[in-house]
Amino acid sequence: MHLYKEGDRSEAMCPQCKRRVSTRFAVRTVPLEDSGVQVPGVLAAVCDVCDRVVALPAQSAPKLKEALERKKDVALEARIPYHLEDVIHLLADRFSAAVAAFRPDLLRFYLREVASDPAFAERVRELASSEQAQAPARARLSLRMPQALLAEARAVAHEAGIPTDAELLRGIILAAKEDVLEGAHPDRIARLGGAAQAEGAPRPALV
């Protein structure tokens, strides 16, 4: 696959100059005007005459796609008991990962598990209503995620009898505690270890 590089030269039709112009590839912030998104760090073909971005190379498409999808992300906010927030810290520590980076990965990972597996959602419901989940919910939890993931997870959770995001999160965190801290699910430990490694944690030891 051909890759355009910063400094490469090409040609384009410039809408400002209204003619064929020579271009150079440079890194720019590209506005996607009808979406209101500004995408920084995009390699773009810039008009040699007026310095305007006139074209984008094929390889920039995934970067633009990601920026547009990020815009569609939605927030999930809930309050959980402090001892469940401690569980998140214990899980991050288990993988030697920084909590701030690992927390969203962990929760999105388990929301995907809920969305994909009604039997797992049942288990989450049982854990959410267990004695371990009960305490005043005063710790605030907030993360952003793709709208589709949250909608799918909520749909399966509601089907399983989990009525609120707060209960869903309580059940998920307790499921993670059993899976990882109590070693109940080596496959999930391995996959979460990969996610933690992607956030800069050391390579996970083989289980």
Binding site: R20, L32, P57, L64
Partner: protein, 97 residues
Amino acid sequence: MGFKDVRTLLVDALQSGRFQHEHRADVSRNLLAVGDVGPEFVAQLLMRCTGRDYSCTPHHFDERVACHVFKPAHEGHRWYVKAYFLSADAMFISVHR
């Protein structure tokens, strides 16, 4: 260049990555530029075309540059693909339904 020659060159460009997109404000008119569809998909769209799905018009900034328009049908939708060639690259203006 006739329909089949243009199509072959565009498919080659899509397969090799030697293509660019005109930067436009309405990004939803070029789904290839924002990754909503991939180059393989657009190549397949082009391969579905017959000569009747193809037309050619001069670029409004430079009449010496031919713009190639393909209107393939796919799963009940009529697609619109518009591109031209400059130097060694294909330049896509539009890829949308």
